[in-house]
């Protein structure tokens, strides 16, 4: 999942800030529960769960990021 985010085009990378959480850590568990996530892997955008239990195709991920960027 982390790799799919790292491979996004530069123009997408430039409009977002990425935070990766390790669920083995206490901080990671806290964030996981704040997001009310249930399974792995998980991507949240602007604090909202968007993708869960799957690694989205790059086009879908880009679209989800752009949609939320445009409505910010």
């Amino acid at each position: 999942m982390a790799q799919s985010v790292q491979e996004l085009p530069n123009e997408i990378q430039s409009i977002m800030e990425v935070r990766e959480w390790d669920l083995r850590t206490r901080a990671g568990v806290t964030r996981f529960k704040e997001l009310r996530a249930k399974s792995l892997p998980t991507i949240a955008i602007n604090g909202e769960l968007v993708f869960e239990s799957l690694i989205p195709p790059q086009e879908e991920l880009i679209q989800a990021i752009q949609q939320r960027y445009e409505t910010c």
């Binding site: 669920l23 083995r24 850590t25 206490r26 568990v29 806290t30 996981f32 529960k33 996530a37 249930k38 399974s39 792995l40 239990s53």
Partner: protein, 324 residues
Amino acid sequence: MYVFKPKGVCPKEIHFSLKAQSIEQIRMVGGGCPGNSELMGRLLKGRRIDEVQSFLEGIVCRNGTSCADQLLQALLMVQSGQLQAADPITIMHEEHRSLRKLAVIGGIRGNLVGLQSVLAAIETAGIEDLYSLGNLVWPHGENDAVVDLASKHGIKHVQGPNDRQAAYGVPIIGVGSETIRLQNRDRLLLDPLILSFQLGKRQAVAFQGGFIQGIHGFSDFSPYATEIIMTCNLSDYLRDESVFPALATMTDHFTADLVLFGHTGQWKHVRLGKVDFINIGALVSGEQYEYAVLELKDGDLAVQFRTIPRGNIPQECNHEKGNG
């Protein structure tokens, strides 16, 4: 904190802490004269190692040595780098044998009759070992009698938070240090926080609960930390079943494939991924005493939660719960 295992003297361990090469605290654990031990601690507190050397050397009690002499050896080993600070997250490894059938009890809480009942029930059941997940002691419990009985029967015990506080002489309401004999405080102190053992080919870990995370020295990557954080924090001791998919995924990161824990007082067995999670409940369950028996049958793990009616003879009842 340094932990030194002396030779030729009564205490099993010498625990001491230093601050900038000065002695902060000394405790002789598991034997010896408590009065002399306390005196030594008071007299040496705040003194530098090189200052106390002349006080400690040359004192002989038995076997050509003494507590003072052993303490001196320990202090010199610290100075030379041969003795490192002990890991405060103590793990007991049962490395030398693989069990096939054991009983597990939780939350004894000073209940002497309950412990006696379980010991009587398992006496003829072919149980190889009895493990106890804290707390042994509890406000207004028969704490000394329980610790004595557990010690007499060689029960392997992991500390609960009350046990740990009692061991360090921290008063708990109704369980002040003055109510538990020093010998039993030492026994509790020597109990580990985590127990690691083999059940057949299954690698198992047992702990009381997530309070371990609050102990100085615990890190997210300590041995068995993943098991503890996933069990206690992520799934809230298996009470939050909505995160079971994530918990199942995370079992790939576990060292153990059998996780025993207490804390909740509830009995539960769940298998997720490659791991069996067993919540060992409290000894007293309504009008019954309850304990678990874990056994390998044809290579598979069989878990029974057995009950003993309080006041009656022991009975066996299969209490298999969860989707194990």
